[in-house]
Amino acid sequence: MLALEGIVVEQGNFRLTADFVVEAGARVAVLGPSGAGKSTLLSVVAGFLAPDAGRVLCDGQDLTGLEPGERPVSIVFQDNNLFPHLTVAQNVGLGVKPSLRLSQEEAAKVEASLKRVGLEGFGGRRPAELSGGQASRVALARVLLRARPVMLLDEPFAALGPALRTEMLELVREVAAETGATVLMVTHDPGDAARLGGQTVLVADGMARAPVETQALLADPPPELQEYLGAG
Amino acid sequence: MRTPIIATALIATFAGPVLAQDKPVLRVLTYDSFITEWGPGPQIEAAFEETCGCDLQLIGSGDGAALLSRIRLEGARSDADVVLGLDNNLMALAKETGLFAPHGIEAELDLPIAWDDDLFLPFDWGYFAFVYDTTKLSDVPGSLEELAASDLQVILEDPRTSTPGLGLLMWVESVFGDTSGAYWEALSDNILTVTKGWSEAYGLFLDGEADMVLSYTTSPAYHIVAEDDATKAAAAFSEGHYMQVEVAGKLAGTDQPELADTFLRFMLTDGFQGVIPTTNWMYPAVLPEVGLPDGFGGLVEPDVALMYPPEEADSAREAALEKWLAALAR
């Protein structure tokens, strides 16, 4: 269970508040107009940004003061998820140990996770030799391997074509199911939110609202969402 | 395993030779060119160590002027025993430091002047002179006056940073006295450049940059002896030539006073003096038994040897330097 208690972030004219709970294992899309604070919300959970007030709890543990790497959280960014100077296996291996001093057993796990995302035998390649979809798979293989209770995705597949995007969202669902992770995924596309299944947090007008069932939300959008979606 | 090897190599490089022997060590602080492989240093070190039962360490420190700064910087804490390479113009300043002890040696010297300084002993000497290339210059000036009146280009050394430069300053001062400022102004259009030290000046001259260079009457001997080249000559000036006497002295703080005395006495014997003409290219302070090498025979020998007594040199230097700066800094 991920709880955001009385979160307030202020940066100049920008203000974001959040106060809600996400059930363990839920898959939640974070939807809203650009500049509303979707990524800011993820940054607070990931530990990149300390909120001006409030705290984040994960399964009852207060995350305040924990470094990003110490949090029970994995994150996939829009791009630059892989270090271009390291091999695919090293990039995934960082998820096991940042020192990359892997035991045989751990190396086998890396290989297994690559196999799981359909990249068996890709371990020795460099990111430059991968397609966009393959790079996303490597990032997900690392998430799989880390098996942290919370999985954050910040518009991860925005650069991919529609078919590939659907495929990746399916993989995300599978990875989340296998690790039992709670998913928070930022997107500006209601279609992605629908495909992810589960719930949606609407971020608009300086406030991240509590998650509601995505289907119900899209069927009967509140005024803020209507405005974002266009009168339609 | 590679790391220790590299580390050992580095330590060996940086720490220099480590001497693990019980022989007493005599440290002689001198100028750089004295200790180069073609300088007097190596032969003199070998000759002295044959008889002294000691380890002679020659330590270089810039040129004669820098030598004095080094002594003043180190003060009484210096672990040098002897300083070799100051000259008559710097002696008063050196004396003022109070760091030197009397040598107590009575010596028969072959100098054109009388010498009775109780702190410093000469080891060689020479005359400053303007050197030229006989194949390029036919109308050679016969005096400082003629030089200033000519349209020749000369290279000088800076009196603040080099002993030849200071030598010329004193030369002009001793010849012109109160009118030396006017002389420098008259000379200023003949000065191609003023260099930091003798080596730059002489190098530029050899590259053909100027008609004449401030050096020594003995400089042509190098070209004759070492290169069999008789095209370089020193111009004889009718006002006389200023002398440089290079000296050595014992530091009062030495922990090897007897060994230092032994070295100073050795300095005036053939083992030291015989090496001087063809390595330092100066006249030896005591003529060796075999006499001077051939190349020295045809050198210019001035009729008048000019030199301020060391005790007057310092005050003359300061006044002369101000006039020099005033004439040339504009």
Partner: protein, 517 residues
């Protein structure tokens, strides 16, 4: 590991402060009487300002057409020429001056030509000689910095300008002028600062008391007058000149990333006219001749004597190489530590770190050397430590350039990959080993090459300490000149040139290869 990183950063700050301000304090403390500045010192201050300003303005003014020609023309040998543009900056001063004299001296190539034409030979000594040498050293630097500005203009803008039918003049006004306005001030400042502390050039070509810089006056105060107070005061004045220049240009961003990436040519339209092509060709040929002929003459004069070089020259070369390598390593550690520090603490604090990294551009190596001598003399024999001390001081003198090469890249690495590294818990050694060092390989290779080359050619501080067992190659070269060994000196100059350029090439190349992997 984090503790160790912090410790190294603290040590780096302490070391830089101790070597710059600490040594100055030590010199002032040993001063025997209150300093007094005479007319000669004031003349030196005036001369310093004039020559530095002239050198900066001329270098930049000449660099603009050269950079423009290089930015918009591709021709065979262009990349070699761009590489060679890096050479003069890392050239040992003493070698470069020999090369310049071979061209511009009374007996040089140019004078010989002029005499053949029935004209007067050129006279290189004095203000114009000093400025000429400074332009020789800094024109290539300015060209590289401005070329970088040109290549930073997005190609789309030139395409847009072409589609709007803009001619060369309009492109200059709309695209190039604004770029120059942002790049040129920083460029002027850097060259002004470099020339302010000029020592060896003024020494060789100043032509006497008329052409004395402050640094040269400091040297004189030390060497002959033994006036430590005056040396300290002059050093402070030099500090002040640099500080005022830096403050006057406070808003100016110092150019960063001296590194590479200059192989690209800006794709341009509407510059195909014969006149423009001839103009660019002439500019490139003249600049190349100005820079390469002196280098060529050093090689030509040095080759005959190479065979006659003795063992002491090679021993000195070995020592210089060891010092250069140690100095390069130290430069990297110092530069990286300060860049990390500035990165971690942004805002005002970072500005102080930046200033600290740039501090040694304003200090006198002679003051550092003498200050160290005074401090170390109380503890142990400074002569025994001559080589390590030289390596440390040389590292400090290279630090401003190394820092400028590394800090912007480090900031970029943190922007692009910092969060990924954080989220994976990469800290301390793991972050350095798997994120920072591989991504920073290129600027680090460049910085190490620069530091090694500058150290290789430095004559300065070692001269205060060395004894015959610790003579470096520049000292040996100097000694050869003192010993009437002109042919060997020319050969040693060539050896020194090869070592300096070779060290730079090896490190820079190594960095590029690592970065490319």
């Amino acid at each position: 590991m984090r503790v160790i990183g912090g410790l190294i950063q603290a040590l780096a700050v302490a070391l830089v402060l101790a070597l710059t301000l600490g040594t100055l304090a030590a010199v002032a403390w040993r001063a025997e009487e209150a300093p007094r500045l005479g007319p000669a010192e004031w003349a030196a201050i005036r001369f310093t300002l004039i020559q530095a300003a002239l050198s900066a303005v001329l270098s930049v003014a000449l660099a603009v057409p050269v950079a423009r020609a290089l930015a918009r023309r591709s021709f065979p040998g262009r990349s070699v020429l761009v590489t060679l543009l890096g050479a003069p900056f890392i050239l040992p001063t003493i070698v470069a001056v020999l090369g310049l004299l071979a061209v511009f001296g009374r007996n040089g190539l140019l004078s010989v030509l002029l005499v053949l034409l029935g004209l007067e030979p050129v006279q290189i000594y004095g203000l114009h000689g000093v400025v000429l040498a400074h332009v020789f050293f800094n024109l290539p630097l300015a060209t590289r910095l401005i070329l970088q500005g040109w290549l930073a203009i997005p190609a789309e803008r030139f395409r847009l300008a072409a589609s709007l039918g803009m001619g060369p003049g309009e492109v200059t006004r709309v695209l190039e002028w604004p770029m120059l306005r942002s790049v040129v001030p920083g460029c002027l400042l850097v060259i002004f600062l470099i020339c302010t502390t000029s020592f060896a050039v003024a020494l060789a070509l100043g032509g006497g008391p008329r052409g004395t810089t402050v640094e040269l006056a400091i040297y004189q105060a030390f060497r002959f007058e033994f006036d430590l107070g005056k040396a300290a005061l002059l050093s402070l004045i030099q500090f002040g000149i640099c500080a005022v220049a830096a403050l006057a240009a406070w808003r100016v961003a110092l150019p960063g990333g001296f590194g590479g990436g200059l192989d690209r040519v800006v794709e341009r339209w509407g510059i195909g006219s014969f006149w423009l092509r001839a103009q660019d060709a002439a500019v490139v040929v003249l600049a190349a001749a100005f820079l390469l002929v002196p280098l060529g003459l050093i090689v030509a004069r040095g080759v005959p004597g190479i065979g006659s070089l003795g063992a002491p020259v090679f021993a000195a070369t070995g020592r210089s190489l060891a010092v250069a390598l140690l100095s390069a390593l130290l430069t990297l550690v110092l530069g990286l530590a300060l860049a990390e520090l500035a990165q971690r603490r942004r805002g005002r604090y970072a500005a102080w770190v930046e200033a600290l990294a740039a501090l040694s551009i304003a200090v006198s190596p002679l003051v550092i050397g003498t200050g160290l001598f005074i401090l170390i003399f109380r503890l142990t024999d400074p002569v025994a430590l001559a080589l390590p001390i030289t390596a440390v001081v040389n590292a400090l003198m290279s630090l401003p350039f190394a820092y400028r090469a590394m800090a912007p890249s480090l900031a970029e690495i943190e922007t692009v990959y910092g969060r990924l590294g954080d989220s994976l818990g990469m800290r301390g050694w793991a972050r350095l080993r798997y994120l920072v060092l591989p991504r920073l390989a290129r600027p680090m290779g460049f910085a190490a090459g620069l530091a090694a080359a500058l150290s290789m050619g430095d004559l300065g501080v070692i001269a205060l300490f060395a004894d015959p067992d610790r003579v470096t190659l520049p000292m040996q070269l100097y000694a050869l000149m003192s010993g009437y060994r002109m042919e060997e000196a020319a050969a040693a100059a060539l050896l020194l040139l090869l070592c300096s350029l070779g060290l730079f090439w090896v490190f820079d190349r190594g960095g590029r290869l690592r970065a490319g992997a």
